[in-house]
Symmetry: C2
DNA sequence: TGATATCCTACTTGCGAGGTAGGTTTTCCG
DNA sequence: CGGAAAACCTACCTCGCAAGTAGGATATCA
């Protein structure tokens, strides 16, 4: 297994927010009930989404959460990255400021990491897939659109 | 992070076996030394590779391991799956016997899991990337080692 | 003013990755 | 034949983190 259930839950929350998108915010109590997830745990997830600027919270009675942007403007790469921390297939791989892929095993210039090519390819395919999928794509209920 | 270091190490072992591929087997002692990995831990990894039929062991003095097949005939999907157990982006997703993607959250026919589309896409892109990359692709990118 | 919600901090728990240890069996080589 | 060197096997340890709980402080509406 590669992504934590935290990410799974978080994506479900985002879909639910997009689905009920309207003038009034949606409370986590409602979402916890309809998705059958523990409220206290959802609060942690949503904190990540909020800090990433994907949702906005309204405090107090009749409060809740709203999407910061319309669903078509939110890529699932943003959502997953906010929940997961970062998107890297393996510990030694990360992205530098320029978006280039860095392998921490390559301390020496001579010593090219033979597996870097593999993880770079995997990383690229995951990220581009997540970027191409928008939150709005998951809202429209179409049965079985498997790839 | 998505793949364990077990998978990272295992891939490095496979690359090393492919690189030194010849008539005589390569011992884990050698690989552990050159890759700077703990021998006892490598034994566990290689056991998985052996059970998956990717590698053959020769016991006794002058023994070691050999690739069961030529490197171009080994896809990295096989290697990663042997090491990781299975390739699924998330707990609720798995593959059935026909290769179709199954979501364990979809108990009811009415209740289509809205996030299944996302994980299906991610799963597909990872698997196809791993299948397209052969073990031999990772070997040929370093100046030839003195034999 | 009370109910309802976000928001914040601290704690608990279970599990699996990562690694160690020590043995048994097999095979080569001198 | 007798080590030595290797695979092979089983059991164990430990530590970090995901997953979840708990309880409160703060904000807002009716």
């Amino acid at each position: 297994m590669m992504f934590s259930t935290r990410t799974e839950y978080g994506v479900r929350v985002m879909v639910e927010l997009a689905r009920r998108n309207g003038d009034s915010p949606v409370s986590l109590t409602d979402i916890a009930a309809s998705e059958e997830l523990p409220l206290a745990y959802l609060e942690h997830l949503v904190a990540r989404l909020r800090k990433a600027g994907l949702v906005e919270g309204r405090r107090g009675a009749r409060g809740g959460y709203l999407l910061s942007r319309p669903a078509p403007n939110i890529s699932m790469a943003e959502v997953v990255e906010a929940l997961e921390g970062s998107i890297a297939p393996i510990e030694c791989i990360s992205q530098d400021a320029d978006g280039g892929v860095v392998c921490s095993r390559e301390t020496d210039v001579d010593h090219v990491c033979p597996t870097k090519l593999l993880w770079t390819r995997v990383q690229g395919s995951i990220v581009s897939t997540l970027q191409d999928t928008r939150l709005s794509d998951l809202v429209q209920q179409r049965p079985a659109v498997a790839a």
